[in-house]
């Protein structure tokens, strides 16, 4: 029995040594790094992604843009909200609230849903792309469209869910520098009455 245990210890020690060497050779990122610092000017939203017209949210919203008239791109509402929400500040903060995320949504920033496919199709933030954390695929259609130099807001189910952070880490490794994580979940967004949609992501067949 001693011999068997010694053999086990030897095999595992050998493997552990290989693992340590491997970890030095191949780097992985376990935690989310801060976003790259911005200049003082407000960063334009991602130009590559075809942002749908994003009207200001219906009356369910309270806040600085509630009284402004709805326009094609919400620009006057944007000006009113800009005093409260500065995109540069939000990018520096990285983790943002539901209202802050919605503000960026009205600016046309792309949203990424990190949940499973089933949950995405059952209901997602209107216009959101789908990059599930569990099966992150670097060949995903969303990655062809998202601009690494632009802002991207990622969300999942909220609360303890860290899928959005997992996806954010992956995106950082792909060169994205303006990642924001909406700490609230999809259900909070839907409860607030903000725009949602069902079915597969835009541009993908049923």
């Amino acid at each position: 029995m001693i011999r068997v245990l010694a053999g086990t210890a030897a095999l595992m020690a050998l493997a552990a040594a290989a693992g340590v060497v491997d970890s030095r050779l191949r780097h992985i990122q376990v935690a989310l790094a801060p976003n790259a610092p911005l200049g003082s000017t407000v960063q334009a939203p991602a130009a590559t992604a075809t942002a749908p017209a994003r009207p200001v949210a219906p009356a369910a919203t309270t806040g600085p843009d509630a009284s402004a008239p709805a326009t094609q791109d919400g620009s006057s509402a944007t000006a009113a909200a800009a005093a409260a929400f500065d995109p540069a500040t939000l990018v520096a903060k990285q983790r943002i609230t539901l209202e802050e995320a919605h503000y960026l949504w009205t600016l046309g920033d792309p949203f990424v849903d990190a949940r499973t496919r089933a949950r995405f199709e059952a209901g997602h933030i209107a216009g959101a792309f789908h990059l599930p954390a569990a099966q992150f695929d670097i060949n995903a259609p969303a990655l062809q469209v998202l601009d690494p130099q632009g802002r991207v807001v990622i969300y999942c189910t909220g609360g303890e869910c860290d899928d959005s952070e997992s996806v954010a880490i992956r995106l950082q490794q792909l060169g994205f520098t303006q990642l924001l994580i909406m700490e609230a979940g999809y259900d909070d967004w839907a409860s607030a009455g903000y725009p949602t949609a069902q079915g597969p992501p835009d541009g993908e067949p049923w």
Partner: protein, 173 residues
């Protein structure tokens, strides 16, 4: 454990177990080694370790699976390899129980991108089944088609090259 006459038959069932269990772990190890980032994410979801140290098991566990699986499939140090895999399985089982007790919704991460499965009773039962497979090899050795048998009598006290039917030297110490 008393040896019996039908050693070669016993050897075949052990050989079968070695190939199945070793093969599964080999597959799992290769998948994890191809994408250590994904495995690290899976470990993180279990919320058992602080983030700073996750990089170690993210690499060491797959390498252990690989080394032990190769040894098991080849039948080299079969009992030791099977024991090592059994220890890993016990550790995984403990982690699963912890996750289930805390009510977390976690993907197993056992086979990477394939067979994405939530940690629950099904994964726990599978874990126990694997343990049950490993047990006879730990107890009795590699069986048929094992390098242990070629190298000579019982490096770790298992198969030797006596003819089938002859009493086997028991080396369970």
């Amino acid at each position: 454990m008393v040896s019996t006459r039908c050693d070669w038959r016993r050897g075949l069932d052990l050989c079968f177990v070695r190939l199945v269990l070793g093969g599964l772990f080999l597959f799992a190890a290769v998948i994890k080694l191809q994408d250590p980032q994904a495995f690290a994410t899976a470990i993180k979801a279990f919320r058992l370790l602080p983030t700073d140290v996750i990089v170690w098991p993210a690499f060491i566990i797959p390498w252990m699976e690989l080394v032990l699986a190769v040894a098991l499939v080849a039948g080299l140090w079969s009992r030791s390899a099977a024991l090592g895999l059994a220890l890993l399985l016990i550790a995984f089982g403990g982690a699963m129980v912890s996750v289930m007790a805390r009510g977390l919704d976690v993907e197993c991460g056992c086979f990477g991108r394939f067979f994405g499965q939530k940690v629950g009773w099904e994964s726990l039962v599978r874990n126990v089944v694997f343990l049950a497979l490993a047990a006879p090899v730990v107890a009795r050795g590699g069986g048929a088609l094992a390098l242990d048998g070629l190298i000579g009598r019982g490096r770790d006290g298992d198969t030797d090259r006596t003819a089938p039917g002859a009493p086997r030297a028991d080396a369970l110490d």
